[in-house]
Amino acid sequence: MNQIFDIFLLEAVLNGVLLGGLLALLALGLNLIFGVIDVVWICYAELMMIGMYCIWWLHVEAGLSLWIAFPAGVLAIAALGAGMHHFVIRPVLTAEPINQLLVTGGVLFFLQAIATVVFGVEFRNIGVRLPSIIVGDLNFSLARVLSFVIAIGAIGATYLFLSRTYLGTAIRAISQDRAIMPLMGVNPSRIYLMTSAMGGGMAGLAACLLVLQYDVHPAIGLSFGPITFMICVLGGLGNLIGGFVAAFVFAQFISVGGFFFQLEWGYVLAFAFFIVMMFWKPEGLLSRRR
């Protein structure tokens, strides 16, 4: 009995790691946007939800192959991210921070409602079921392993992009000092737009990975949104590496907590942990000073 229990626990831990990769990808996109533009997109997970609908529609309704639907979904959400910046964030760039937060909250309502109008409240799925991988006594879904690998790959690529390319350097520079960069001849509005598109693209990629594992419905963003920005705050808003670490910590709470109790209690534990951590290390997990 004890033996079986341990194996299920190990499976929960490993599934937590797999979930962590996906959450890390979402957190990276949100963190990148915050680090550069200094606005938290409360509606970030809703972009992902729209992405899942895009892929579902292209594959199931329009009958395109998934190999076309996935890249198209990523591009569409990247465009949506750029549009979001251009039409919603740009006008409030100089407004009160609270108004900036709220306006993205308005987008949350809007995207959720428009998905309801267009697609209805039914659960949709793309009808692709990937097999399970069995390693010894452990059981993993291939979709999860795949999404973990792709998410980690995307995070690595982003890291290389930020550290090796000119544009990446400009992005890092502008997140360090917003006032000086324009004086150095960098056009911040272009960087902002690029970053928003990149952040959107990551939400689109997350949508590709999620659509393999979950059914789509208009409220699915709500089950990932709060988690994503808790992760970003826990890692230190704008701190890309902190967000990466925090994603795995959070995923363990959800997965193992959900294993011992029910899924909601996993989330409750994760949120409670978040609140405690805020008081212990308000600047983020990896901060040195208090």
Binding site: Q262, V268, F271
Partner: protein
């Protein structure tokens, strides 16, 4: 002086309005408008002083669920339930507020921490589904036996008129509190704090205590709002009384009306209510979500083009420096 006379005339008209025999639906709208005005004003007591909470849904949820659960499970009167609810809320607000203010969690961070709190409360309500009914919501057991229409001990009244006057009383109380905070030394202190905490504490303001006092007050009043909501609607579910949606809606309401004027939250409450009801009536329920689409769109436009809110913009235009 002049504005005070206007205020009392309007108040008298408001109090007399239901007696002219308006229908049940308009009366219901007035009750709901006043209830939300009460809750929004409670929120704005702390919001306007730079403590923007996205977590007031937590306090609303604690208020609503505590009274209903105590009543349904053990038959404890909502009057006692309300006291228990406020006590729980004060503990919760203290638990969140004290460390936040102690460790200087402000701005985005404060908003997101409080948002986490409201999600925790919602998830706990859903998680305790054996007692709370989970996402399906819960209905307080009716105390109306043998055709009775009033049960004071159960705080249930089938006559909406009673509720109307209760809500007017609460709303006036909230405005009174708003004004008291506005005119007190604390307000000056808090405004100084919201502009520069270090400077404020250097001139001898006890920053943490002042912020905490306002937070507890605002949370407790919101909790009472939750109690009233549950007792009036006689149906609550986790989405309507806690979680992100309702917490954001409160902030929206206040911003839409105007955060820095006394009647701003009231204007916001009336505006949101009229907007959502008219959208519901105009569009109907044939296509799900159209009303919320327009609602969301309007909120975005509002924040972009009218950041001071309706009343704030009107007052700014006519130069009334109240």
């Amino acid at each position: 002086m002049n504005s005070r006379i206007v205020f009392f005339v309007v108040l008298a008209a408001l109090l007399a309005a239901p007696l002219t025999g308006i229908g049940k639906y308009p009366l219901h709208l007035m009750v709901m408008g006043l209830l939300w005005a009460f809750i929004y004003t409670s929120w704005s007591i702390m919001g306007r002083l730079g403590m923007v909470s996205f977590g007031h849904g937590a306090f609303l949820g604690v208020g609503a669920y505590t009274v209903v659960l105590l009543w349904n499970l053990w038959g404890i009167s909502p009057w006692i339930g309300a006291v228990v609810a406020v006590a729980i809320t004060l503990v919760l607000a203290f638990m969140i507020g004290y460390p936040c203010f102690r460790f200087r969690i402000v701005g985005h961070y404060f908003a997101l921490v409080t948002l986490a709190l409201s999600e925790v409360v919602r998830l706990i309500i859903v998680g305790l589904r054996d007692q709370t009914g989970g996402s399906l919501g819960i209905t307080p057991k009716s105390a109306m036996t043998d055709g009775a229409t009033v049960s004071i001990s159960a705080l249930q009244f089938s006559n909406k008129l009673v509720w109307f006057y209760i809500m007017v009383g609460c709303w006036l109380f909230a405005l009174y509190v708003w004004r008291r905070v506005d005119q007190s030394m604390q307000r000056l202190a808090l405004q100084a704090i919201s502009e520069d905490e270090d400077a404020a504490s250097s001139v001898g303001i006890d920053v943490n205590r002042t912020k905490l006092a306002v937070t507890l007050l605002s949370a407790a009043m919101t909790c009472v709002g939750g109690v009233l909501y549950a007792q009036y609607q006689l149906y609550i579910n986790p989405e309507t009384v806690s979680g992100i949606g309702i917490s954001l809606q409160m902030v929206f309401g206040v911003i839409a009306g105007g955060m820095f004027v006394m009647l701003g939250p009231t204007v916001g409450a009336v505006f949101l209510l009229v907007l959502s009801e008219s959208l519901r009536v105009l569009i109907g329920n044939e296509i799900l979500g159209v009303d919320i689409t327009i609602y969301g769109l309007l909120l975005i436009l509002f924040i972009i083009y009218m950041p001071k809110g309706i009343l704030g913009a009107i007052l700014a235009r006519f130069g009334d420096a109240r």
